[in-house]
C-alpha cells in the first residue's frame, strides 16, 4: 500500500537471474516486491531487490513432486499476499498459502477439470473467488471457502485458453477459446454466455481487460495478431489491430499508458514488445534479452509503467527497465518508398526532410507528376520520438487532370488518341509520337519518330515533297475519280494498308461525285492517300513481285467495305447459302483500268528514290516491336504493326501477330474501348482476327407484312408466304444485301438503288421521299 504513492521510476535496474527450469508463467505480489515463477519443474518465489533477484521460497517440495506442481499458470492474489493459485497441467487447480507453517504450502486442491487447466484468475475485488479455464472446454468458479466449485460454465466450443475477470464490471469475465472465439460471461449466469464473437482465426491464446477503459479487451492469437475490442457497444467492435511477426502468447496492458500493451510470442520470436496500438506497424519498445520465447510477462506494479518482468523458456527471469529498452523507431529507416500497382509512387520521409520543397511544388525529379502530401499530425499523447512524417504520393498527371487518376490512363488515352490510319504514314507517326509524348512516354514517342524516319524518304522532308507529287499527279486522276476510287479500293485489298483510311477516301469521293463537293478537299484527300505509299519503297515493286500473295486473302477481305461500296461479296458461311452471286467479277474487272493511272503516279515518284533497300530496317523494327510486346506494351506493338502495315507485316510471323492482336483487343475490350477495338480488328491483317468482326453478329428480320419474325429465310415469310423484301426498282426478291432508305424504308438491291439514285432523287417506290444514296 505504501508503494502506491511513491511510484519511483528508478527503483531498480535491468537484472535477471537463472532459474533451474523453463518458466511457464509469472505473477507479481500485490506490493511489487516479490514474484512467483511457475513451470513444469519450477515453482519458486523471488524477492526483487535493488541489486538482483533473491530466492525466497521453493514451493516445489517433496521427494517426487507430483504433477500438481507442474504449472501451466500461476496467479498471486490481488490483496492477500499469502495466497497463490496455480493451474496444473494434469487438470488440477491448486491454491497455496504461504503462511502455512510446514514446508508444503498447498492448501486446496480442486480436481474437477478433466484436462489441463490453462488459466486461473482471482476476482479483482472479491477475495474468495477464483476462476479457471481448462482444455476440456469448461470454466469453473471456485469459492475458496468451499471444497468444490460453485459454478461451471460450458463454452460449448473447444478448449479454453484464457479467462480474465473484467476490471470494472464486477460480474463479467471474458474467456478465449482455441477455435478463435471469445465469450463474455456473467458470473451469476452459468447456463449460457452473454455474448460471443469470433476474434481470430485459430486459437486465441490470451486476453486482457484494459485497466482503466471500461470494456476494452485486448486479445492475441495464433494468427499473429493483437486486437483491441470495444465491448461497450452492442456488437464487439475491433478498434485496433497490431500485426506481430509470431503467434501471440501473452498480452498485458501497460499501466498508466492508455494505448500501450506488452506482448510476447509463443514461438520463434524471443522478444517482448510494447506496442502503441495506434501505431501498429512498429513496436514502441522492444526487450531483447531472452534467448528463448518469453512465456510470462507482468508489469511489476499496477501503477508503474516503467518496470516489466518476464519469465522465459530459456530458464531466466528478467526485470526489464523501460529506459533500457530498445526503441525500434530510432533505428527504423524513416524513409519509405513504394510503387503502387498502377505506377504510382509513394514516398514517406521525415517532415524535416520534406520541408525543403514545401508549398507543394512538384518534387524535383518527378516532373509533370505532382505529389500529394499527407502529414501526420503529431499527437501529444504519443511518446514516439518522431511522430511527424510526410507521405507524398506521386501520380501520373492524367490528361489535364480531369481524367480518372492512376490506373491505366495512359493506355486508354493512347488507345483513344492514336491514329492508326487515315493519314499518310509520316503524319501518323508524327501524330502518334506527339500523343505518346504528351502522355509522358518519351521512349514510345521516340520510337514513333524513328519509325517515321526509317521508313520515310530519307532525302526529303516527307510532307511538302509529297504534296507536290499529289498535285502533279492530280490532273490525270481527276478525270476518272470514280474509277480511281475503285482502284484505290483494289489497291487497298492488295496492299492492306490503312483500310479505314481508304474506306473514308472512297466514301468521300463518292460523296463528292454526287453532291459536287469541293474539289479541293477531294484533291487533298487524294494527296494524302498518295503520300501513304510515297514514303515507302516503290509501289509497283511490291505489286508485281508479290501479287499472288496479295490476292489470296481476298475472300476474307472485301466484305468490310463492300457494304458501303460494292454490291455483294462472298458472305460468311453463317448466312444463307442462297445468297446471290453478284460480287467478284465486277470488282476484279474494275481494277484493270485504274491500274494505268496508278502506275503513272508511281513512275513520277520513281524520279527521286535514292533509298535504302526496303527491308533494311525490318529486323530492327521487328526486334523493337517484340521488345514492346514482351514488356507488356502490346499496344505499341500492334499500333506500329498497323501503321507500318505492309512494311513490316512479313517480318513478324503470323502467329505472333495474331497473338499481339488478340492481347491488344482483349485489353481494349476490358477498358470498354469498343470503337478502338473494332478499328483494330478491322485494320488487322490476320485472317483470324478480322473474322472476329464477323462472328456472333445476328440480324433479326421481321416480315414486313405480318410483322412476325422470319426465322428460316431472309426473304420469304413462313406465315404469310409472301416475299418480304422486294426490290423497289426491279420488283424481285432481294436475296442478299438489301439497302433501304432510313427515311421511307423503301429499298432494294444495292446496285439497283445506286443506279436509280444516280438519276433521280426520289424514292423508286414512288412514295415521294427524297432519298439519298451515299
Amino acid at each position: 500500500m505504501e508503494k502506491m504513492t511513491c511510484v519511483s521510476p528508478l527503483s531498480g535496474k535491468t537484472m535477471f537471474c537463472h532459474l533451474d527450469a523453463p518458466a511457464n508463467a509469472i505473477s507479481v505480489c500485490r506490493d511489487a516486491t516479490q514474484v512467483v515463477v511457475a513451470g513444469r519443474n519450477i515453482f519458486k518465489i523471488y524477492a526483487m531487490e535493488e541489486t538482483g533477484f533473491v530466492e525466497r521460497l521453493n514451493l516445489r517440495v517433496g521427494r517426487k513432486p507430483s504433477l500438481n506442481f507442474s504449472c501451466a499458470d500461476v496467479m498471486w492474489h490481488q490483496s492477500d499476499e499469502n495466497l497463490l493459485a496455480t493451474a496444473a497441467t494434469n487438470g488440477a487447480v491448486v491454491t497455496w498459502n504461504l503462511s502455512r507453517p510446514c514446508r508444503n504450502k498447498q492448501e486446496l486442491l480442486f480436481t474437477e477439470h478433466k484436462r489441463t487447466v490453462n488459466k486461473v484468475c482471482f476476482h479483482p475485488s472479491e477475495a474468495h473467488m477464483l476462476l479457471s479455464g481448462s482444455q476440456d472446454g469448461f470454466m469453473k468458479c471456485f469459492d475458496l471457502r468451499k471444497k468444490e466449485s460453485v459454478s461451471t460454465f460450458s463454452g460449448q466450443s473447444e478448449s479454453v485458453r484464457d479467462v480474465q475477470f473484467s476490471m470494472k464490471d464486477y460480474f463479467t469475465f471474458a474467456a478465449s477459446f482455441e477455435n478463435g472465439n471469445v465469450q463474455l460471461w456473467d458470473i451469476r449466469r452459468p447456463d449460457r454466455y452473454e455474448r460471443m464473437f469470433t476474434a481470430h482465426t485459430g486459437p486465441v491464446f490470451c486476453c486482457d481487460w484494459h485497466p482503466d477503459d471500461r470494456g476494452w479487451l485486448a486479445t492475441g492469437g495464433r494468427d499473429k495478431m493483437v486486437k483491441v475490442w470495444d465491448m461497450t457497444t452492442n456488437r464487439a467492435k475491433e478498434i485496433h489491430c497490431v500485426q506481430t511477426i509470431a503467434s501471440v502468447a501473452r498480452v498485458k496492458w501497460r499501466p498508466e499508458r492508455r494505448w500501450h500493451l506488452a506482448t510476447c510470442s509463443m514461438m520463434v520470436d524471443h522478444n517482448i514488445y510494447v506496442w502503441d496500438v495506434r501505431r501498429p506497424f512498429i513496436p514502441f519498445a522492444t526487450f531483447e534479452e531472452h534467448k528463448d520465447v518469453a512465456t510470462g510477462v507482468a508489469w511489476r506494479h499496477p501503477h508503474d509503467p516503467y518496470v516489466l518482468l518476464s519469465g522465459s523458456k530459456d530458464s531466466t527471469l528478467y526485470q526489464h527497465m523501460f529506459r533500457d529498452a530498445s526503441r525500434p523507431v530510432d533505428r527504423a529507416n524513416p524513409e519509405g518508398l513504394c510503387f503502387g500497382l498502377f505506377g504510382d509512387l509513394a514516398f514517406a520521409a521525415k517532415e524535416s526532410l520534406m520541408a525543403g520543397d514545401a508549398g507543394r511544388k512538384p518534387y524535383p525529379g518527378g516532373d509533370r507528376r505532382y505529389p500529394i502530401f499527407f502529414f501526420k499530425k503529431p499527437d501529444v499523447t504519443e511518446q514516439f520520438a518522431q511522430v511527424s512524417s510526410a507521405l507524398s504520393v506521386f501520380e501520373f498527371e492524367a490528361n489535364g487532370g480531369d481524367e480518372g487518376r492512376g490506373r491505366m490512363d495512359w493506355f486508354v488515352e493512347t488507345a483513344r488518341r492514336y491514329l492508326l490510319t487515315g493519314k499518310p504514314f509520316a503524319e501518323l507517326c508524327d501524330h502518334n509520337a506527339k500523343v505518346a509524348k504528351e502522355l509522358n512516354r518519351p521512349q514510345v514517342s521516340t520510337t514513333w519518330t524513328m519509325l517515321r524516319i526509317m521508313y520515310s524518304d530519307p532525302g526529303n522532308p516527307a510532307t511538302p515533297a509529297n504534296h507536290n507529287i499529289s498535285k502533279l499527279g492530280n490532273i490525270p486522276l481527276m478525270i476518272s475519280l470514280k474509277e480511281m476510287s475503285s482502284a484505290l479500293n483494289e489497291r487497298n485489298k492488295e496492299n492492306r494498308v490503312d483500310n479505314l483510311h481508304n474506306l473514308e477516301t472512297n466514301l468521300n469521293i463518292d460523296e463528292n461525285e454526287e453532291t459536287e463537293g469541293s474539289e479541293g478537299q477531294a484533291e487533298y484527300l487524294f494527296g494524302d492517300a498518295e503520300l501513304d505509299d510515297d514514303d515507302l519503297y516503290s509501289m509497283e515493286h511490291d505489286n508485281q513481285t508479290e501479287e499472288p500473295e496479295y490476292i489470296l486473302p481476298q475472300e476474307a477481305f472485301p466484305l468490310r467495305h463492300e457494304i458501303v461500296d460494292h454490291p455483294s461479296a462472298p458472305e460468311p458461311p453463317a448466312e444463307k447459302p442462297e445468297s446471290p452471286q453478284v460480287s467478284g467479277g465486277e470488282t476484279e474487272g474494275s481494277c484493270l483500268t485504274p491500274m494505268e493511272s496508278f502506275s503513272l503516279i508511281s513512275v513520277s515518284q520513281l524520279l527521286f528514290q535514292p533509298r535504302l533497300p526496303p527491308g533494311f530496317f525490318s529486323p530492327v523494327v521487328r526486334a523493337a516491336l517484340t521488345h514492346y510486346a514482351e514488356l507488356g506494351d502490346v499496344q505499341m506493338a500492334v499500333s506500329a504493326l498497323i501503321v507500318l502495315g505492309e512494311r513490316i507485316r512479313k517480318e513478324v510471323d503470323e502467329l505472333t501477330q495474331e497473338h499481339w492482336y488478340m492481347s491488344y483487343i482483349e485489353l481494349l475490350q476490358r477498358f470498354e474501348l469498343w470503337n478502338v477495338s473494332n478499328e483494330v480488328i478491322k485494320l488487322s491483317t490476320c485472317s483470324a482476327i478480322t473474322c472476329l468482326n464477323q462472328a456472333s453478329t445476328t440480324l433479326h428480320i421481321n416480315c414486313s407484312n405480318c410483322k412476325r419474325p422470319m426465322n428460316n429465310k431472309g426473304w420469304i415469310c413462313d406465315r404469310c408466304h409472301q416475299c418480304a423484301s422486294v426490290c423497289a426498282v426491279c420488283h424481285h426478291v432481294v436475296k442478299g444485301l438489301f439497302v433501304w432508305c432510313q427515311g421511307c424504308s423503301h429499298g432494294g438491291h444495292l446496285e439497283h438503288m445506286r443506279e436509280w439514285l444516280k438519276h433521280s432523287n426520289h424514292c423508286p417506290a414512288g412514295c415521294g421521299h427524297l432519298c439519298e444514296y451515299t
Partner: protein
C-alpha cells in the same frame, strides 16, 4: 502416343460429358488402330511380346490396363459403360484383355462395400480427385469418410503439386524414400511413376546412392523419423542445415519433414487397410485367363470363400458381447472417474506401465519378412527398425505435450516456414481427431470421444509422448489385446500387418469403422513424428 494419350486420359476425367464422349471416341479409335497393327494375339500364353511389334503390343496392353481401370473406377457411368463395351468388343475380335487381380481396392474389405460408398457420399470428391489425375485405391478406401478424404486430398495435393520450397521431383523422391522405409511397394510404385513423369532422373531410382548428396543426407532423418523419432536431436537438424554445398534451407527441411511423416503414416494406412495395387499399375491386373487354381488362391487369400464366411459368422456369434462390454466400460469410466481419484504416483506409473506394456505386445509373428530388394534400395540400413521406446538402459526423457504441442508450437513453426501447410495439417488433424458418427457397430448415439482419445494417446504413448492430463489406465480398460497388437503393428512396423490381424480386432465393427480407426492411427502417428521433428528444429533455431 504419350502426348496424345495424356490428353485423352485427362479429357476422360473431365466433368463435361461431351468432352468425355469425344475423348472416348478417340480412345476407341486409338485402341482399334493398335489392335489392327498388332494383329490377333497368339493363343500361346507367351503373351503379346511374341508378335512382330512388341513395342506397340506393350503400348496396347498399357492402354488396355487403363481402360480396365476406367471401366471399374471412373466415377462417371458413361465412361465406365463404354470402357466395358470397348473391352468386350476387342475381346470379340480375339484380343486378350486384362482382368483385375485381387478383389477391389483393399484386400481386407470386400469391394462391393467400398464401391457402394463411392456411388453416394464421396462421389463429388472422387470426381474432383479424378479430374486432378488420379483416383487411387487409398482414396477409394478413405471414401468411407468423405469429410476427411476431402481434407486429405487437399493437403496431399498442396504438398505435391502447389508452390513449395522443394522441386516436384524432389517431393516425389522423398515420398519414395519414406514409403520405402516401410517397404510399401504400393506407394513406391505410385511415386516412381510420378517421379518419372515430372522429369526425375531415372538413375536416382537405382538407389539412394544414385541420388544427389542432398537427398542422401536426408536418409538418416528418414530412418530415425520412421522408427525411433524420439532419438531426433537438434544435432541431426544442424547437420542438415549447416551451411555448405548440399545443405537444406529451413523451409525445404520443413517441407521434407512434412512429406516424410506424411508418407510414413500413409504407409501405415496402406498396410493397415490392405490396399491392393491400382488396377492399371503393375500387379493390379493380368492378361492371363482365369484358371481354376488362381481362383482358389484368390479366394483363400482374401477370405471371400463361402467356408470362410461361415467361419466368420461363427466367430461373430462367439464374440457378440464385445461391443457391449466396451460400451459398458466406457460408461463406467465416465461415472467412476470422479469418485476414485488416482494418486499422482499412480498416474505416472500407469503411463510407464502402458509404455512398457506396449513393448510386450509383440509383433514378431512374421519375423522372417525380408524387404524385397526392389524397394529396399531406396533406403539405407534396412536392419534399422522400430525399437521400443525407453528400452533397457538408454533413458530418453518423456515428451510432454504440454511443453510442445501441435496446436501451440508445431503449427506456428510449420506455417511460418511453409505457409498454408500448417493450416491444412491442422484441419486434417482436427477432422481425424473429431470425426465421429456417434455409432459403435450397431449401436447409435454413442459418445466415442473417450475411445478415440484412448487410441490417439496410446499411439503417442508408444512414441513416448505423454499427456499430463490423461489417465493412462483408461487405455487398458478400453483397448483389448488384439486391438493393441494391431495398433502397434500398424504404427511401428506396418509391413507386418496381416489380414488375420485386421480381422481379429473389433470383430463386430463395420469396415468403415475400422477404416476410421486406421485414419486415427495414421494421423496420430504423423503428428507424433512431426512433433519430434519440429521440436528438434525449434531447438536448433533457438
Amino acid at each position: 502416343m504419350d502426348v496424345r494419350g495424356a490428353a485423352t486420359w485427362e479429357a476422360l476425367a473431365s466433368r463435361d460429358a461431351s468432352s468425355r464422349d469425344a475423348a472416348m471416341a478417340s480412345l476407341h479409335q486409338e485402341v482399334m488402330r493398335r489392335v489392327e497393327s498388332v494383329g490377333p494375339m497368339p493363343e500361346t500364353p507367351s503373351g503379346p511380346s511374341a508378335t512382330s511389334a512388341p513395342g506397340v503390343a506393350d503400348d496396347l496392353s498399357d492402354i488396355l490396363a487403363r481402360v480396365l481401370m476406367l471401366s471399374k473406377r471412373c466415377p462417371y457411368d458413361d465412361v465406365r459403360e463404354k470402357c466395358v463395351w470397348l473391352l468386350r468388343s476387342i475381346q470379340d475380335i480375339g484380343v486378350r484383355i486384362p482382368r483385375p487381380l485381387g478383389n477391389g481396392p483393399s484386400k481386407f474389405i470386400p469391394e462391393k462395400e467400398i464401391l457402394k460408398v463411392s456411388k453416394v457420399d464421396a462421389r463429388t470428391i472422387f470426381e474432383e480427385a479424378f479430374s486432378l489425375g488420379r483416383l487411387d485405391n487409398i482414396s477409394l478406401v478413405m471414401g468411407f469418410h468423405p469429410q476427411y478424404l476431402e481434407s486429405f486430398l487437399r493437403t496431399q495435393h498442396y504438398l505435391l503439386q502447389m508452390d513449395g520450397p522443394l522441386s516436384l521431383h524432389y517431393r516425389h523422391y522423398i515420398g519414395i524414400m519414406a514409403a520405402a522405409r516401410h517397404q510399401c511397394s504400393y506407394l513406391v510404385n505410385l511415386h516412381v511413376n510420378d517421379f518419372l513423369q515430372v522429369g526425375g532422373d531415372p538413375k536416382w531410382l537405382n538407389g539412394l546412392e544414385g541420388a544427389p548428396q542432398k537427398l542422401r543426407s536426408l536418409g538418416e532423418l528418414n530412418k530415425i523419423l520412421a522408427h525411433r523419432p524420439w532419438l531426433l536431436t537438434k544435432a541431426h537438424m544442424e547437420s542438415l542445415l549447416k551451411a555448405e554445398e548440399h545443405s537444406w534451407s529451413l523451409a525445404e527441411l520443413i517441407h521434407a519433414v512434412v512429406l516424410l511423416t506424411h508418407y510414413h503414416s500413409m504407409a501405415s494406412f496402406t498396410f493397415g487397410c490392405g490396399i491392393s495395387p491400382d488396377i492399371h499399375a503393375e500387379g493390379g491386373h493380368t492378361f492371363r485367363p482365369p484358371s481354376l487354381s488362381s481362383y482358389c488362391v484368390c479366394d483363400i487369400a482374401n477370405g471371400n470363400g463361402a467356408v470362410d464366411e461361415l467361419l466368420a459368422d461363427q466367430q461373430v456369434l462367439e464374440v457378440s458381447g464385445e461391443v457391449e462390454v466396451l460400451m459398458e466400460r466406457m460408461k463406467q469410466l465416465q461415472e467412476c472417474r470422479d469418485e476414485e481419484e488416482a494418486s499422482q504416483e499412480e498416474m505416472a506409473t500407469r503411463f510407464e506401465r502402458e509404455k512398457s506394456e506396449s513393448m510386450l505386445v509383440t509383433t514378431a509373428e512374421y519375423e522372417e519378412c525380408v524387404p524385397s530388394r526392389d524397394v529396399s534400395r531406396h533406403f539405407e540400413d534396412p536392419s534399422y527398425g522400430y525399437q521400443d521406446f525407453s528400452r533397457r538402459g538408454e533413458h530418453v526423457p518423456t515428451f510432454r505435450v504440454q511443453d510442445y504441442s501441435w496446436e501451440d508450437h508445431g503449427f506456428s513453426l510449420v506455417n511460418r516456414l511453409y505457409p498454408d501447410v500448417g493450416q491444412l495439417l491442422d484441419e486434417k488433424f482436427q477432422i481425424a481427431y473429431n470425426l465421429t458418427y456417434n455409432t459403435m457397430a450397431t449401436h447409435q448415439g454413442v459418445d466415442t470421444s473417450m475411445l478415440r482419445r484412448a487410441i490417439w494417446n496410446y499411439i503417442h504413448c508408444m512414441f513416448g509422448i505423454r499427456y499430463d492430463d490423461y489417465d493412462y489406465g483408461e487405455i487398458n480398460e478400453l483397448l483389448d489385446r488384439n486391438f493393441k497388437v494391431y495398433i502397434k503393428t500398424m504404427v511401428c512396423s506396418p509391413e507386418k500387418i496381416t489380414k488375420r490381424m485386421y480381422e481379429s480386432f473389433w470383430r463386430q465393427f463395420q469396415h468403415s469403422e475400422k477404416v476410421h480407426v486406421n485414419l486415427l492411427l495414421m494421423e496420430a502417428r504423423m503428428q507424433a513424428e512431426l512433433l519430434y521433428a519440429l521440436r528438434a528444429i525449434t531447438r536448433y533455431m533457438t
